[in-house]
Structure formats: C-alpha cells, structure tokens
Symmetry: C2
Subunit: 359 residues, 2 copies
C-alpha cells in the first residue's frame, strides 16, 4: 500500500466511553485501551491503519490530560503531531483547529478525520476507500465515508444519499445527515437502499472545511485561523469557541447546500459504543458460553453465556445467566446483561456525583 501525497490523518482522540465503564474511565478512556485483545490500543490501531497512507503526516487532537499517554502510545510520532486542547470544546473546534494548522502548513493538504476509538475490519478496503475519498475531496467536496449498514441499528446516525456523482463512480451526493432513528425507522431506511451509517469520517481539503464553517459561523472559522497563525493565542481564545459537533456546525448545513459527497465503505466498522457491541465484535463463533476479553482459562460458565472481562489472575464463575456482562476491574465491578448495556451510563452519572475518582 503506497502513501497518499499530501494526505494528513487527523485523529480526534476524545470521549470517555462512558457506556464501557468500568473498563473505560475518564482517566483511561476507551481510545487508550486494547478492547480487542490484540495487544494494541484503539488509538494505536487507528494509527496502524492510517500510517501506510499518511506516513508521518498525523495530527492527533486530544485533551491536555491525555497528552502524555497519547505521546507514549504513539512514540513513532514527533511531539508536534499531538495537539493538546486546553479544554474540551467538542469536535468542530478540535478538527477545525487541525484544519487551520494544516491550511498554514501545507497548501496542498487533504485531511481525513477518523476517531481514535473505532474498529475497522478490513484495513486494505479502508485504505482503498480513503484513497477514493481523497480523489473526490481534491475536487473541493466535503467527503464522508458511508458505512454499508448490516442491520437496522438505532445506535448510529444515518446518511441519506442523493444522486450519483458523474466524475466519481460509486460516490454520490448526500441529501442529509439524520440523527439516530428508532429501529423501525432504521428498517425503513435500509429497505430503501438509500441510507448509510454515519461513522463521522470526513475527508476534505482544510480550506474547504474552514470555508464551510465560515459560511455558518464566520467568527468561529476566523478564530481558528488566527490561532493557527499565532499559536500563542490558543490559551486565550480557545475557551470562547462554540461547543458544537462538526456534524451540526458543518456537515448538515453543507449537505443542505449540496456540498457533501459520500464514498461507499464496506470495510466492517463499529464504534464499540457499549458492551453489547463489544461482545458482538469479540464473538468468534466458537465460544462455549463466554466471550472473554483477557485470559479465557480464568472463566467458568455453567449454563451461562455473555461477555466476561476478568482481572489478571482472578477466576470468574457464572452460573445460570444468559447474555450476561461481567466486567471486573480492581476497584469496580459491573454485572449486567447485553440488553441493558446502554444503561451503564446511568450508573456512571450517579458515580460522578458520589465517587468521581471511579469514573
């Protein structure tokens, strides 16, 4: 796989992965963890799949508190490749700052923004898809990678497709981005064949992205460009930036204005939002009851099935419970079911008030 000239990988590394508590904590979030048992964190796997395309051209945007951990995990990158946000301002500010810096550094840059905590199955197909997206982005489009849905998920947003793009076979315009639907609405979406999952993956020339932002919020775009021109302004100007997702700030209005293109992606994708989705990812079809992240010899299942994550060296026995989720860590234990995996966030919400050191 050859690198793509002037292609920059932008990796926003944020989010606590609240629904993966107690595995994921604000001090040790999902993207810093190895959730697949392969020996690499999700951030490292993200780097591994992008490095053949971007070589050393990376910008990882993360919280100040995670800067050192990110640098340690990505020790092949120089310090300049890691941007520490003074505070969390959501994805538009994070990715927008990266765009502004790249606009300054490389007039020919095309950036691709990929979250640090997603799982991708077929890395070669991913590379091909990014390569296509870069070609389309060079024509001035905001390109989104549209994941082929495999089931009517209510956990993801959708991309509503428009007409095919004459110059780029396979690509087509984006009519709109739609929020997470109910399962029945998602079923309707899939039946039309005109909808794809929105994985929040964008490929775009930095100037195009910032100009799209400027169209809806000129001051926001101007501030990002001022910071990029004079980094000493970061501390002062950052806190005043709007806290808004890139989807709302740019992608949705740009789609309405006919400026977004979808490149089809079918490389196998998941954002591992909760333990149900992690269990699905880890299932290998040969499991005899338990899907284990860790040492399977520690787990004893008797008339039981589900996802079990043991601590180092500690035996876990489960009897008479199906689709259970047992996540054992040194200071916190979660016991629930795959069906209730989303409700972990309620526990975390309560703990933030009473035992914040555990969240």
């Amino acid at each position: 796989m050859t690198a793509i000239e002037h292609f920059w990988a932008v990796v926003p590394a944020g989010g606590a992965g609240t629904r993966l508590w107690p595995l994921s904590r604000s001090s040790s979030p999902k993207f810093l963890r190895d959730l697949t048992g392969g020996g690499r964190s999700m951030l490292q796997e993200t780097y591994d799949r992008l490095a053949p395309l971007a070589e050393e051209r990376f910008l990882v945007v993360t919280g100040r508190g995670h800067r050192d951990a990110v640098a340690e995990q990505l020790d092949a990158l120089g310090g300049d490749a890691i941007l520490a946000e003074p505070s969390a301002r959501d994805s538009m500010a994070a990715i927008g700052l990266a765009a502004a810096l790249l606009e300054q550094a490389d007039p020919d840059a095309v950036m691709g923004s990929f979250a640090a905590d997603h799982v991708i199955g077929d890395v070669d197909a991913f590379g091909d898809c990014v390569r296509t997206a870069v070609r389309v982005a060079l024509d001035g489009w905001l390109v989104t990678l549209g994941i082929e849905p495999t089931f009517p998920s209510s956990a993801f947003g959708y991309i509503h497709l428009g007409d095919p793009l004459p110059d780029h076979p396979g690509a087509c315009s984006v009519r709109e981005f739609v929020e997470k639907p109910s399962v029945s609405v998602a079923e309707d979406y899939l039946a039309t064949g005109q909808f794809r999952w929105n994985a929040g993956m964008f490929v775009v020339r930095p100037t195009v992205l910032l100009d799209l932002l400027a169209a809806s919020d000129p001051a926001f775009a101007a501030t990002l460009r001022e910071i990029a021109a004079d980094r000493s302004l970061l501390e002062e100007r950052w806190p005043a930036l709007p806290k808004i997702a890139l989807d709302h700030a740019v992608a949705e209005p740009a789609a309405a204005a006919g400026k977004v293109v979808m490149v089809p992606a079918s490389f196998g994708w998941d954002d591992i939002g909760d333990f149900d989705s992690l269990a699905t990812l880890l299932e290998d079809g040969t499991a005899t009851g338990a899907t284990v992240l860790g040492d399977p010899s520690l787990v004893r299942m008797l008339d039981a099935s589900g996802l079990v994550i043991p601590q180092r060296g500690k035996v876990i026995a489960v009897i008479g419970l199906d689709d259970v989720v047992v996540i054992d860590t040194p200071d916190a234990l979660l016991v629930t079911t795959r069906a209730r995996a989303q409700d972990v966030k309620q526990i975390v919400g309560e703990l933030k008030a009473t035992r914040p050191e555990l969240t």
Copy 2:
C-alpha cells in the same frame, strides 16, 4: 441464664461450606467466617450462645489444619477444649471421640452436640430448649432438637414424630429420621404436623451415645473408648475408624429401637447451606434491591435485586438482573442467581481439579 451442671457443649467444627464458595474455602471455611455481618464468626456465635449454659465445659472437634484458627477465635477456651482430628472421619468419629473423653472425665456429664456453622435466632429460647433436652437426656434418652418447619424445605432432613413422652411435656418419641425429601413430599410432611427439621442437634449422656454405637458397631465404640483411655493411641487408631455420619451410625437405628426423643425447638434456625439461604437470612425488609453483606455504600443496583458481597472498598454495580448473587473476593468472583445457588458446588468440583488453591 444460669449454667447447667455437668452440661458439656460439643461443637464439631468441620465442613468446607462448598456451596458458599468463594466466600467459604477449605482453608477458611464457613464456620470461621462472619456470615451475618455481626462481627463474630459462626463458630464464635456458637460459643457465645453455649457458654452461658456450659461455662468452660467445651469440646470443639475440628480438623488439624483449623486447630490454630479455632484456638485464636475461641481464646477464652483452654487448649484442652480443642480436639484436632488427625484426618476427617465424618461426624460419628468426631462426636464419638468427644463422648468417650467426657465419659472418662465426668461420669455425670450430659453432652449437647451443635454444629459450629448454624444460625439461631432466639438465643434465650435455644437455652430453654437445651435445658429441657438435658432433663430428658438424664433419663437415658438420645434427645434430638426438632426444629419447627417454617416452609416445605427440600434442603433439610426431617424427624418423623411418634407418641408424646408422659414424663416430659412437649417431648415425644421419634419414629424415624428421614432424608431430604422433594418439596411436594415436604409439603405432605408439614400437612400432617408430625414432622420437624433435623438440625443434627443431639443431647445425650456420653455413655448412652457410646452404648448405642456399640449396639450397631461394637469395634467402633471400643476403639473410641480405648483412645479416650490412652490419648497416645489417637494417631494410630483414628485412620481406621469408619467414615460415617452420626445420623446413620446411631440416630437412625436408635430411633428404630424406640430410644430417641424429640424436644421441640422454635428458636429460628438455619444452616446457611447456600447463598439463597444466606440472602433470606440477611434480608431486613428495608432493602432497596440489594441485600449486602459488607458496606452497602459500595453497591449500586439499577432495576436489580439480590445478594451482593463486595470486597473492601470496591464498588459493585448491577443493572437489570433480579435475585442475582454477586460474591466478589480478591481471587475469585461468583455471579449467579438465588435459584441456581445450589449449583455453586459444581464449579467448586471443577476448580478442585484445575485450581485447587482457590477452593
């Protein structure tokens, strides 16, 4: 409460409490644990309720491996009060040896044998019942305390009652001891009013007990008496003793011969055989979902109920599971349901082969 002259408390302290794993281990069995959260082990609670009746007249029979732990927990007792068995030979040998030693030491002795790992609700009622049993035993009967059944349990053996005893109001002869029945058979038992739970509590003059044993197994009784006369024989003779429960060796044949009397007991009793029974014992009616043995502030229940035993300092969150059992220890975790609590022994059986240090 005044002491009972010549009354000796015999306390067999054995049994691993397999179905209470991982709380109970062979190295730290049920009787050495505080299972009620009251700050005293079950052995210590057994001592506490018998000491007002027996004063210093105790014989605790335990395995050699537990001798030091028993002595430490019962530091008010002298070393002679603790008999260490060279190996486990079941209850007839253990209680029979105590009987033989008492026969030698105190010709007027009446012994009461009470397991070290049972829970009793009303200690005063227990004392009154033992006092009555001693009076009956002085007439030469083998006396068993018959627990008034509160539900048709299939976990306990039953005592089938015969005719009232003219000399001792409330007491009556025992027709037979019956093994653990099915629930429907237990329902039939309760409907007759002629059945009581067999808690394995016997009050008897040592000579009567040994003579009853001699009637069915003369060599067994003779060996016990020889060991009592010359303690140096213990090591050599003990391993050859039959491995048999007192119920089978003496109580059942004695009942058939019309030599057993039941004294009614209604002091609230449980042998806490498994986590279902422990949960019932600990329920206080005010629980909001969880019955916790330990610090309740560590437990978070969301649409969940059941028994939770946390480690020191570690938070346990349970979501969407009713009647769950979560027992967390530093090296082993059990997750099951109250309905499956009996099946813990299958896990322990498997671990004995693969991870014996955990059992």
